[in-house]
C-alpha cells in the first residue's frame, strides 16, 4: 500500500485529488457516476452572497484541446448553498471546500465568516475572468490581493486557500504576497483569458466576447506557474490546468504541487478524478515510491 495522504494547511486529505471549482457542480450532478467518498476533496461551484444569473449564452465554445467559458459565476447564492447543497455533500466522507467571490472586501469577509463553521476550507476566488468587478479585479493587483487576504484571514479560522490568476505577468509576486498576508495555501491556475471568432459571421463565439481557456491546451502554462509559485513560498500549492489523467497530475506534483485539481476533464470523462487517483497509486507502486511526498517537488533540474 502506498501512502497518498497530503496536508493543505490544517486540512488533511486522504489523497491529493480534488475537483476544480465550477467543473463538478455541487457534487450531486456526479454522485451516480463517481464514488464521492474516494475524492480527496470537493471544491463547490463559486458562490456569492446573492444568487447570480451569469452571462447570456453562448457561454462556451470548443477550441483546440480546450474550451472557452464565460459562465459569469451563475450560482445559487450562499443561503441556498448552505441550506440545500451542503447537507448533500456532508453525507460523504470527503472534504468540502467552498469557493467564494465578492465584489468588495466586505463581501468576501461576510462569505468567509458564514462558511467558516460549515465547510472544511475556503478558497478565495480572486481570479474569475468572467465577472465585472470583484474576482480578477483583486487578483491582478498586489495591494488589493494583500488587503483582501489579510481581512478574510482575520475573519475566518479555517484553512484559507487563495486561487491565483494566470493572467498576471509575475505569478511569483502574487504567491509571495498571498503567503505573507496569511493564506494557508495557493490554488493555481484559474482559466487563461482568451477569445475565439467565427470567421463566417465575423462574430465572437462567446456572447461576452472574451472568456477563460481551460483544458489540456493550458497545461504547460499551468505546470510552469505551479513551479514558479511553489519555489518562492513554503505554503502548499494546489495545481490545476488541463489534468486529464494520472500522468498529467504527476507532472504537477513533480513541479511542486502538494495536491491537484481536475477540472474540464470532468466534462469529458465524468470518472476522470477516480482514474487519476488510481493512476497515481499505480505509478507509485510500479516505481516503488512509498509516499507521495517523495513525488512532490521531485523535479530534477
Amino acid at each position: 500500500m502506498v501512502r497518498v495522504e497530503v496536508d493543505i494547511g490544517r486540512l488533511h486529505l486522504k489523497n491529493p485529488v480534488i475537483t476544480a471549482s465550477g467543473t463538478f457542480g455541487y457534487g450531486e450532478e456526479y454522485s451516480d457516476l463517481v464514488d464521492l467518498n474516494r475524492l480527496g476533496a470537493i471544491v463547490a461551484k463559486g458562490i456569492s452572497l446573492k444568487p447570480m444569473d451569469g452571462n447570456p449564452p453562448p457561454r462556451i465554445c470548443e477550441t483546440p484541446c480546450g474550451m472557452l467559458n464565460s459562465i459569469g459565476l451563475q450560482n445559487v447564492g450562499i443561503d441556498v448553498f448552505i441550506k440545500e447543497k451542503l447537507p448533500f455533500l456532508r453525507r460523504y466522507d470527503t472534504r468540502i471546500i467552498a469557493n467564494i467571490l465578492g465584489n468588495t472586501i466586505e463581501e468576501y469577509v461576510e462569505l468567509a465568516m458564514r462558511l467558516d463553521d460549515v465547510v472544511d476550507a475556503i478558497e478565495l476566488n480572486i481570479s474569475c475572468p468572467n465577472v465585472q468587478g470583484g474576482g480578477i479585479a483583486f487578483g491582478r493587483d498586489l495591494r488589493m490581493t494583500e488587503e483582501l487576504i489579510f481581512s478574510v484571514r482575520k475573519a475566518a479560522k479555517k484553512t484559507l486557500i487563495t486561487k491565483l490568476s494566470p493572467n498576471v505577468s509575475d505569478i511569483g509576486e502574487f504567491a509571495k504576497v498571498s503567503e505573507a498576508s496569511g493564506s494557508d495555501a495557493l490554488s493555481l491556475i484559474n482559466t487563461v483569458m482568451a477569445m475565439s471568432i467565427d470567421i463566417k459571421t465575423r462574430r465572437p463565439r462567446l456572447f461576452s466576447v472574451m472568456g477563460g481557456l481551460s483544458g489540456p491546451a493550458i497545461r504547460p502554462i499551468a505546470v510552469r506557474m505551479v513551479w514558479e509559485a511553489s519555489r518562492v513560498v513554503r505554503i502548499p500549492v494546489i495545481g490545476m490546468g488541463g489534468i486529464m489523467k494520472a500522468e498529467d497530475a504527476i507532472e504537477f506534483l513533480l513541479a511542486g504541487a502538494t495536491a491537484i485539481a481536475v477540472g474540464t476533464a470532468n466534462f469529458v470523462n465524468p470518472r476522470a478524478t477516480i482514474e487519476v487517483i488510481e493512476g497515481i497509486e499505480e505509478f507509485m507502486e510500479k516505481g516503488k515510491i512509498d509516499n507521495i511526498k517523495d513525488l512532490i517537488g521531485g523535479l530534477i533540474c
Binding site: G22, T23, F24, G25, E29, Y30, D32, L33, K45, D53, G54, P56, P57, P58, R59, I60, C61, E62, P64, C65, G66, M67, N69, I71, Q74, G215, P216, M244, T264, N266, F267, V268, N269, P270, R271
Partner: protein, 255 residues
Amino acid sequence: MNERLFKARVLENTPASPGYMLISLECLEDIKRPIPGQFFMIRLCSGNDPLLRRAFSLHAWIGKNRFQILYRIKGIGTKILSEIQKGQTIDVLGPLGNGFPKRKAERHVLVAGGIGIAPLIGLAETMDEKDKLSFFMGFRTKTEAICLDRVNKMAASVSVATEDGSLGQKGTVIDILNKNLNNIKSTIIYACGPRNMLKRVSDVALRHAIDAYLSMEEYMACGLGSCLGCVIRTTQGYKRVCKEGPIFDHREIVW
C-alpha cells in the same frame, strides 16, 4: 444497475441520405430506457482534440439496450462519428435531460425542420394513438428529405415542404403548418429544428392558444448540469438545456 456512462458497440453506421447517417448501437451494460426527447453525449476521441462530447437525441429504441441515433455530418465531431465502423465500441453518456411529456389530445402535431426529425420519429413510435398523428416536415431540398418512409407508415397525415420546391410544397414547414392548422381544438405540437423555426412554431402555438413542446439546443460541455454552459433564457431566468430541457414548454422560452 443502470449505468449512465457506458460503452456501446456499433451495429451499423450507414448513410440515410447524402450528409445524414443512421447509427445503431448496442450498449454493453444495461441502461435505463430513454424517453423520446432525451439525449446522449458521445465521446469521439480518446485524445484531446476534439475534446468535448457531442450531443445526440434518441432517434429510436430498437429493443433491449439497443437504440439508434440519426445525425447530420456538420463538423469535425460528426465527421469522426461517420467514420466509425460496425463492430467498434464508443463511449456514451446518457440518457440525459427530460423527454417529451406524454399527453392526451385529439391531435398530435409533430413539426420537424431538417435533422430535427431525429427525435420526433422515436416520439411518434411510442405514441398510442397513431391515427391522431400529423407530421409536418421541412427540408432544404428533396435529397435531404429523410425518414419519409417511416413517417408515411406511422402518421395519419404527412405534409412536406422544401425550400426549393423539389418535393412537396415550396416553402418552409411553417408555411404548410399555417395552411393546415385549422380546426385545432385539443391539439398539441411537438417540434424540433433550427432555433428560428422553433420561434415561429411558438408564435403559431401562441396565436392558437395551444400547447407546444420544443426540443432546444445550446452548446454543451458536460451534459450533466454541472458546467452551466448550456443555458437558455426562460421566463424563470436561465435554465440548463441539458438538465431542465432539452424539451421546454414554448411559453417558457424568452426568444
